[in-house]
């Protein structure tokens, strides 16, 4: 899984990159806030990001706000990693749109655990986005049948999008998962089938 590490301190960047690569992540590095934004703004942005708070260019909270303003069905999971440990900073950071907050100096086991929370949430978001896509697709198919259908007043055939006149059951079968079994209703039995059988019997006698 791709992860962005944005920190202007080379020592912290190297430590994080080596650790994350050791855990199997594909690391993208940024040395300042503007470089980080060039990675986060495009649609193929990494699903995970670890951002320092104070950096040249955009700072961590500004990156979070920018990221949250972008349309995305699977938003990037952001951890703010900073030396700012005051409660008000945590509130500010989370309020700007960070998902998690970790203070320096940090323990690598804690970072790993917090990243795994992010990975789990990303997995759930992707699953949810796929379900929504499937539901939307199903709904678009149902809409085809709830629209205006041109039907012949006499034979009851329906005109398809390709300008063919199809029997109702053929049309419905093509646009839904419904299948038909054939029978005769009591009204048609009285009004059509019995008179026709009577005519047939008379013609034989």
């Amino acid at each position: 899984m791709r992860i962005l590490v944005a920190d202007d301190d080379g020592v912290s960047r190297h430590r994080l990159a080596s650790t994350l690569e050791g855990w199997g992540y594909e690391v993208v590095l940024a040395r300042d806030g503007d470089e980080a934004w060039r990675v986060l703004e495009p649609e193929d942005r990494p699903p995970l990001a670890i951002l320092d708070w104070m950096m040249p260019g955009r700072d961590g909270p500004a990156l979070c706000r920018g990221l949250r303003a972008l349309p995305s069905s699977t938003p990037t999971w952001v951890i703010l990693l900073t030396a700012r440990a005051a409660g008000t900073d945590v509130v500010l950071g989370l309020g700007a749109g960070a998902n998690d907050y970790l203070t320096k100096p940090y323990d690598q086991a804690e970072l790993k655990a917090r990243l795994e929370v992010g990975v789990r949430v990303i997995g759930l978001q992707r699953e949810l986005a796929e379900r929504v896509r499937q539901v939307e697709q199903a709904l678009s198919e149902v809409k085809q049948l709830s629209g205006l259908l041109p039907i012949c007043c006499y034979c009851k055939r329906i005109r398809s999008d390709e300008d063919y006149w199809q029997q109702v059951e053929v049309y419905v079968a093509r646009h839904t998962d419904a299948q038909f079994t054939h029978g005769v209703c009591p009204t048609c039995m009285d009004e059509r089938v019995r008179p026709e059988m009577e005519r047939w019997r008379r013609s034989r006698s």
């Binding site: 080379g10 020592v11 960047r13 040395r31 030396a83 320096k104 100096p105």
Partner: protein, 150 residues
């Protein structure tokens, strides 16, 4: 800009020995460091990187102090704190935070404030010298850094 100081190689005459309250205890706790960073090799790598980058960061701190530029000082101290924090030397971090608090309060000049800032600055220089020496030893134990960062 003032001359960039070299971490761990400050000339001894800069600080009178009687002012140096260095305990025999090392600043770094290797066992904790390896546990929090992940491996001895990585500790050595980041120690080597720190020794490369710290003189510039310390130079930024000194320059901001000389200019009395509190905003630049806060930025420089924040950068130094971030880098130093990777090794968790608590006394050094305490001094950096004390200097940051003085900068935040704008108390770098005038009477007692100037004295406080100067003492914190001298303490930081001594502590960084000790940290530099300990990190030089750590960096020497591991393979040289061959990885391009950034």
């Amino acid at each position: 800009m003032s001359q960039t100081p070299e971490i761990g190689r400050t000339p001894p005459q800069r600080e009178p020995l009687e002012r140096v309250h260095c305990s025999a205890r090392p600043l770094l706790d290797m066992e904790t460091l390896v546990r929090t960073v992940g491996s001895e090799e990585l500790v050595g790598e980041i120690a080597a990187l720190f020794l490369e980058e710290a003189p510039r960061m310390v130079g930024d701190v000194h320059e901001a102090l000389e200019r009395g530029d509190t905003a630049a000082l806060r930025r420089a101290l924040h950068a130094l704190e971030g880098a130093v924090g990777n090794f968790e030397p608590r006394p050094v971090l305490r001094t950096i935070r004390a200097l940051s608090a003085l900068a935040r309060a704008g108390r770098l000049t005038g009477g007692g404030a100037a004295g406080l800032a100067a003492r914190a600055r001298r303490r930081l220089a001594r502590q960084l010298d000790r940290l530099g020496s300990e990190l030089r030893e750590l960096a020497g134990r591991s393979a040289p850094v061959g990885r391009e960062v950034g």
